[in-house]
Subunit: 338 residues, 2 copies
């Protein structure tokens, strides 16, 4: 057992945007799996915007990562020691490994991955991000053919799922993305009818004009994962009976830009346009995960639903990769390879 | 035909809070009912906060009142001339008469009122305001026994309906009202478990502390009809999976108080607490009106649901009464008697 456990811990709580000093790389002995547990050698783990929220000590839907605790993440790896029925050495599994080279998982919380499935796909298109897009669009967005959808972070694993599902359901789809390359990807790979580079628009008013041009019949569904300037731009364009599923607000995770009070503007739209705004956390809806896989996995296998990954290497590069991702520096699902 | 038509028109669009000069009293000849129409001598008409919105020229769910047009209102009166099958002179009917002594109504848009029903009740507890409270609470608030509800303008026709229905459904009910007298009325007549005088609290933080004390288990349903300081106070107290039906925001009809940007605060709660915010306009839901009457009219007849009216006299006093109502100067459903 020359192997050592290496893991990234939370060294201190960030003030605003995270910086490398907020994290620490720690090493130690490999843990031993207890009864009903397995030791997993992590091959890949996922980086997601929601992890920024776990770094704060605020009341939220999940407990914060404690200072000195391993950063939370879903990972994929091979079982290297098993103390559980039904899982053997060499099995590939996924579970909440954290940002770590190895993790002990309860067998009940590890899901085996079949050989035919690309291992990293369970972190993205067929995992929590894809499920988030599928659930929020279908159950809360209630898409109808002929309507118009807007989604930001449109080349990410949530946004690209939302856009492709909506397009297949007969909606006009408008992508918001950062930079010309991502806009091209949104149109070419993910089939968006229009793509708008938010970096080309300094303020909400300018961005709104661009969205209005791309959505001449108004916006029926705004799938919300960013908040900030995009939200401010879209709200006045919403149609009567519009729906806003809310699964994230990455623009506000590190703080809030200066602005006048935008709450009355939103509230007026909610009333006048009879809008539905629905916050959701995908972890509440695992009972729908089988339905998601039944619907989406065959479409992914047939190539009808495309996805992109951005794979960075080396556990010690996870903090800087995470920081870069929060600023939109990745293209596609951000994954760390150990 | 010594009678003249008298009506209150919109003289100009208000800037902020309406003032008497925004209205005009005009007189003219009585109109003649065309085929399928009746002429109604109005006995009472309703004043409601939504009318403030109709005075603006903004895009909204209903067309604005044009300059020189009669102010919109539901009224009750007697048919004095009929040119329609099924309605005769002397019948009491309700319909959209406007702020006027007489109105021509299509028979299809006039509803006959049976003799046993108190005429003004169709403007309040058994009319649009009561229906608004019933629909918003049941269909969007989805009340469950043991939960806690907060509603503002709690002695008004919407708030008092919401509070009594929620109490009967086994919820803890918290009233927000303006002044000690209304708070006493909320508790004594409408059965609220607690009543908070918003005038005793200068800012949202102070009001929030009072609501928190009255709602020790948090707030599951905030029935929104005021916006402003009350909304800001309640949002952080909302429980996970809380619901906010939004039917009005009277605090913001005349303008917005100074504040920092409260949108991120709301948005964070929507996400973290998986809240549902649902704007609604009761006019979209007339298909549920019979269900409302079947449920509520017998309970009103039995005295299980109480209501209060504030009847002012004289068409020419309608503007000042309306202005007073927008500032909370009335107690119970505001009605004008001609």
């Amino acid at each position: 057992m020359a192997d050592q456990l290496r893991r990234i811990t939370l060294a201190r709580r960030p003030s605003g945007d995270p910086v490398p000093e907020d994290f620490a790389l720690e090493t130690g002995d490999l843990p031993n799996p207890g009864a009903g547990e397995v030791l997993v050698a992590v091959e890949h783990f996922s980086l997601d915007p929601y992890m920024r929220g776990r770094m704060d000590d605020a009341r939220s839907y999940a407990d914060p990562v404690p200072i000195g605790g391993t950063m939370t993440a879903q990972g994929v790896g091979r079982v290297v020691a098993s103390n559980a029925d039904g899982l053997s050495e060499g099995d590939r599994v996924t579970g909440m490994t954290g940002w770590a080279s190895h993790a002990v998982l309860k067998a009940s919380e590890a899901r085996r991955i079949d050989d035919g499935v690309p291992p990293t796909s369970v972190l993205g298109v067929l995992g929590m991000p894809g499920f988030t897009g599928w659930y929020g669009l279908n159950d809360l967005g209630r898409p109808k053919a002929g309507e118009t959808l807007v989604v930001a972070a449109a080349t990410g694993p949530v946004g690209s799922m939302v856009g492709q599902l909506a397009k297949a359901a007969g909606l006009r789809t408008v992508a918001i993305a950062g930079g010309a390359d991502k806009c091209a990807l949104a149109r070419d790979a993910f089939g968006f009818d229009a793509a708008i580079d938010h970096r080309a628009h300094d303020d909400a008013r300018s961005l709104r004009a661009a969205i209005a041009e791309a959505a001449p019949d108004g916006v029926d569904i705004y799938f919300e994962n960013v908040g900030g300037k995009v939200l401010e731009a879209v709200v006045p364009l919403m149609n009567t009976f519009g729906r806003i599923p809310v699964c994230g607000m990455v623009a506000w995770y590190g703080g809030v830009e200066e602005s006048e009070d935008r709450l009355p503007m939103l509230w007026r739209s909610v009333l006048v346009k009879r809008m539905s705004v629905s916050g959701f956390i995908i972890a509440d809806h695992w009972d729908r995960f089988d339905a998601f896989l039944s619907d989406v996995a065959p479409r992914v296998a047939k190539g009808e639903i495309d996805w992109r990954e951005d794979v960075a290497e080396g556990l010690d590069h996870a903090p800087e990769t995470f920081i870069r991702m929060l600023k939109g520096g990745n293209t596609g699902k951000q994954i760390m390879k150990i």
